[in-house]
Subunit: 154 residues, 2 copies
DNA sequence: CTAACTGTAACTATATTTGTTACAGACGAT
DNA sequence: ATCGTCTGTAACAAATATAGTTACAGTTAG
């Protein structure tokens, strides 16, 4: 969702967008968007203005905002996590598995971050453009495996 | 948890473990373990036996079981996912952001899988051993950033 | 046959995320 | 100045996903 939001702003060039406009594209509630915008603003990815004629826009050029920036702004946990309750302290494996797994988790997080750091909002916009210029919206882009559930909404 | 479970079995060498023993080390309910063992058995990572003197053990050598095998056995979704509800079809960004993001998600998943594919249960066991031989359990391993919440349990 | 296991269904509990309503405060326009 | 239109944020409800629990049928060694 956050990537979607920042992509909209890059698309809008430098015109501030209202949370309601963004919410309509994302298909959710404006407050959800505003909450997210607050986090993005704290990380200096967007700037928002209150009042009439207000709205939010990117704080800097789309090519200077990476998906890693966004990820770190809105996500505060790594991709995996440990046991809900810590394992038994009586078991030799249980006591120490945590620190071993944390090392693994760090490796995974680093790999994810390396990927995200190499994709900017500008990249997303340009990957988007071919689809958009495709008149009937039924282009040659490969069918994705990760099926998106069709809801009754929209 | 799944890695913990398979590590216990590698540790136990070839002796079958009961779900209750495993549950004690993991600090959870035996049924949670049995549920997970079913998934691991479907992926042929463990073999279980019913009846008295039953239990579960690894289906093959620890060095032939990677964390990717385990991940695929128990986790059926990638590390990130798209919007809960699909975006607006009226918005040029909303219509097409999904396929662009799916490409990104595939890149991320691939990176994660590459990391997991290179770590075996045998590796985990050997990374574990230095900690275990450390008498008072307070060794030189670096303090992990990812704090594990201390619960009242155990 | 019995005791000790697994497999599994059905349910409850807990945690996290998302959506909603409500409202105070900021700000431009008039 | 004050009015209409925004954001920021609190408080809460709904939805989702995961974990934990109870119960029991089916399997197997002795």
């Amino acid at each position: 969702m956050a990537v979607h939001v920042l992509t909209l702003m890059a698309w809008a060039d430098d015109e501030p967008l209202k949370s309601e406009q963004v919410a309509e594209s994302v298909n959710t509630n404006p407050v959800v968007i505003r909450r997210m915008l607050c986090e993005l603003a704290e990380s200096q990815l967007v700037v928002s203005q209150s009042g009439s004629m207000g709205g939010s826009k990117l704080a800097r050029d789309p090519e200077r905002i990476t998906l890693l920036d966004i990820y770190q702004a809105v996500e505060n946990r790594g991709v995996f996590s440990l046991h809900r309750h810590p394992p038994s302290r009586k078991c030799p494996v249980g006591v120490n598995i945590g620190s071993v797994l944390n090392d693994v988790l760090d490796e995974v997080d680093t790999a994810v971050e390396r990927v995200l750091a190499n994709i900017t909002i500008k990249d997303v916009v340009s990957r988007l453009r071919p689809c958009v210029s495709d008149a009937n919206g039924n282009g040659k882009r490969k069918q994705v495996a990760r099926a998106q559930l069709v809801s009754v909404r929209n």
